[in-house]
Symmetry: C2
Subunit: 528 residues, 2 copies
């Protein structure tokens, strides 16, 4: 028995905003509006407003563990609501506006959300959801006016008009650090949506991990543009990370087109941009058409989708930035690996390295660890404080007997310890008893300048079980014949991997996260 | 009731070495030897050796919660022993070789250490300690040979000779994250030594805090020279932080003179140096005398003592580095505040800013929070996961009713949120009912080029209660009369703060941590 101890100091997310308000009171959260206006608030004022919202929520009956849903873009008000909900131990269930009313209502019914906070421009969708989710007692509108009065239940009010009259008696943080803070349903590209429950401890530790100098490395002198949406996977944790260091958080609102982003980056001296590759391609295309330079921008952190080397080089050259690639998933809160800033060996093919707190394991299809973790391809499993243990509402753990979460991704780890995602296990095609990895074929065909998007799926085949089929969407007015599409595969994949057919689509079907919807492709084109 | 959760992933220190061995197996821990040799080991091998030592300790009867003492310099073997002890849930009690045998034995009795790991060159001191601390069952020698056989108890063995025969059955980390990991007694410059119990959780979170880009910002590409000793306050956490990022840890062994450090920095391409200001002054003086450049060195992190602006400028200019000032104490595991790297507004007067996870509060002498936290001077209190809650063996908490730890320091917080330590509350002199802060007088006199060290203490005075007396040690062969010593105080402190007397010392008495021993000064010169 040893005496003596360190202080009990629960890792709860309200501490981030407390810290920012105290030590960086004038550092800002700025929001771009559709009319070109830019709203701004310091962390001290943001915290005061957020506490007032906590009081309102408490008055509306929200208690620890209750769910509050949000249907909103990246904006100051959305950040305020996040902290207001999480600070009192309630759970923020973010809804993705790119899904349909019935889809969203189903998750709101499952989470039993009592209040829905909605962006004014999403009010029609919010009403659809509330109609089908009777547990929603109230809609609170942010970022705009309610407009025409609504006769039907539930009651609708503008949050801003209530803040001034709110009491100041809210207290944050009076709950254990393992309490849930957020809820996000995966997009369901590979099955029914599953709810990932974020916790204060998990997201706090996730934040400390990303702030490391070899990871996202944000500082108080940075202005970080969060193009990644707050309605999906915590906007990669940026609304936690920037207050934690007192950096400026730049929110684009609804607009993520190249012109809007260029204007915002220039106006706010943005130093770091965070978002999927296509967003930065849009920015580059805007600058190439309209001209202009963005000298404040130093780094871009990409993730969420693989990136062609040529695109990486093009973005780096035109914007004068270095790109950090990364890999993550909703179930990881969401960051898994990130390439260090300004790594001279950076490459579009790798997704970075794990920082302390994320453990990776490559296994065979049965979950047995590969004897050699480096070099060979395996099924990727992860462990860590910010990695899902159990999905929302499920009795069974999402982890294996040793506590590892199977990601469903196929990956290699190179000699330097870089993670290389090589495909999705569920996308693999079994042909003649052997596996074909569509991601490798897609990477080769997708690198052709004529090709905008490429997907390979398995089509039923009487002799081989499945055979690969290539689906392509070409760029603008480009044309290319089938032989030329398949030609670059010769010598780069096994001959029997080469697709049996090419199907041209005017528009590739995308899931709400922007990824190619392979479920739909298999349904439409997978029959023999 | 919400379902779903994140993984249970205890924050235990063994994970740092596991991570380093897995992801940075060839990154090195290097140790300078007195004969000029440099030993090196990769993290993978270091972990294997450390696990073997865990097995040996277990065989010797060490179990979770047991204390193992170390009396050693900064070396590979010392790092291996740290992880070996902490990995199995035992507690590493570090002994400061600059204290006396009886002093150290008293703390070893208090901690009930069962094994003493000692550097070969400290074996005589180790025997003195073991003689007086009968709980020590065994001495294990590192970094050298035992030499002549010892007849007396306890048994002495060389650890290195035992490692090859150790079993490989040790398992790390099977205990809660709040378990104690280390024990360090404060130096007792202001009272009896008190034991600070470090915990896995506290030191893990301390590490994540220091790794932030705005704090110590170590990366896998850094080589960090740890001049701060492992026997005091965890060497500022460097033996945890470097494995956590896979950076090179450079250990100077026993030698911290300028010539030895210059050789080591050049040989190992050290990028960041960490130590008290006097160490870097020694390095500068060596280079000024012997010539040479150290181009790999980019940053120096100082702390532990205030630094004159002229010294800071001199070190930065000669070494071509930027200096990060910091403030900490044993009770904080030990880092409190750090100035960000390459801060253009850096200054010797400030001690940096708190990063997320350390809360600061300025109070009046009674512990009531100052209404204005910025601008005015107050008594500094701290809160955080790596801040002491209760000293070793004490029943009462070390914190106030609200959970704040009173540091005993006086401080200001400037408009930008920088911490400025202005003195020690216990050093204050009460003269005529008003307080005099000796630190302010010492800063002015200490800036004179003739003055090496300056201290001001209170001397009993029949009329005023106490009056200030100045004690000085001059540089080399310099001379300066009393009036010239006191002259710069005019207009910079209140007239009644000016010391009544000047006492010249050929050598200022120093406590084992290198700080001026004010207890001794008061005993010898404080009588009326």
């Amino acid at each position: 028995m040893i005496h003596g101890s360190m202080q009990d100091y629960p890792l709860t997310l309200d501490k981030f905003l407390d810290h920012a308000a105290r030590w960086h009171p004038d550092a800002e959260v700025v929001t771009a509006r559709e009319d070109g206006r830019i709203d701004r608030v310091g962390y001290a004022m943001l915290r005061t407003r957020s506490l007032a919202i906590s009081s309102l929520l408490t008055d509306f009956g929200i208690a620890q563990g209750d769910r509050v849903a949000t249907l909103a873009w990246n904006s100051q008000a959305h950040v305020e609501v996040w902290y207001a909900v999480m600070g009192i131990g309630a759970v923020c269930h973010t809804l993705n506006p790119r899904l349909t009313g019935p889809q969203l209502a189903a998750t709101a019914v499952q989470s039993d959300a009592k209040i829905l906070v909605a962006s004014a421009d999403l009010l029609p969708l919010a009403r659809l959801i509330a109609d089908r989710a009777p547990g929603i007692e109230r809609i609170l509108v942010i970022d705009g006016a309610v407009g025409e009065a609504a006769a039907a239940a539930p009651p609708i009010a503008e949050l801003e008009s209530l803040i001034a009259g709110a009491s100041d008696d809210a207290v944050w943080g009076d709950f254990p650090e393992t309490a849930p803070s957020g809820l996000c349903f995966t997009s369901g590209t590979t099955g029914a949506p599953k709810g990932v429950t974020y916790t204060h401890r998990g997201s706090f530790l996730h934040t400390l991990r990303t702030l490391q100098a070899d990871v996202m490395a944000f500082t108080a002198r940075d202005a970080v543009l969060a193009v990644v949406p707050m309605f999906h996977a915590n906007a990669w944790g940026l609304p936690f990370a920037l207050p934690a260091v007192g950096g400026k958080l730049v929110l684009p609102g609804r607009q993520s087109d190249g012109a809007s982003l260029a204007r915002l980056i220039a106006a706010e001296d943005v130093t770091i941009g965070v978002g999927v590759p296509t967003v930065w391609l849009g920015l580059v295309e805007h600058l190439e058409a309209a001209g202009g330079e963005l000298p404040s921008l130093k780094r871009i952190i990409v993730g969420g989708a693989p990136m062609a080397p040529a695109l990486m080089e093009r973005i780096e050259r035109r914007l004068g930035v270095t790109i950090q690639t990364s890999w993550g998933m909703t179930e990881l809160s969401p960051s898994g690996t990130v390439a260090p800033p300004n790594d001279p060996h950076r490459s579009a093919a790798v997704s970075g390295r794990p920082a302390i707190g994320v453990d990776l394991l490559l296994t065979d299809a049965d979950g047995a660890a590969l004897a050699q973790q480096r070099g060979g391809e395996g099924h990727l499993r992860v462990r860590g404080a910010a990695v899902v243990e159990r999905y929302f509402g499920e009795d069974r753990p999402a982890t294996d007997a040793d506590g590892w979460f199977p990601t469903g991704d196929l990956a290699r780890i190179d000699a330097k310890g870089n993670l290389i995602i090589t495909g999705r296990a569920k996308d693999l095609i079994k042909s003649g008893g052997e596996w074909i990895n569509p991601a490798e074929i897609e990477a080769v065909v997708g690198a052709l300048p004529e090709v905008s998007l490429a997907a390979v799926i398995g089509r039923e085949d009487a002799k081989w079980g499945e055979r690969p089929v290539l689906l392509v969407e070409l760029c603008g007015d480009q044309s290319i014949d089938d032989a030329a599409l398949l030609a670059p595969l010769a010598g780069r994949v096994a001959p029997w991997w080469i697709p049996d057919a090419v199907i041209r689509l005017s528009a590739m079907p995308l899931a709400p996260t922007g990824k190619i919807d392979k479920i739909r492709l298999r349904n439409e084109y997978g029959a023999g």
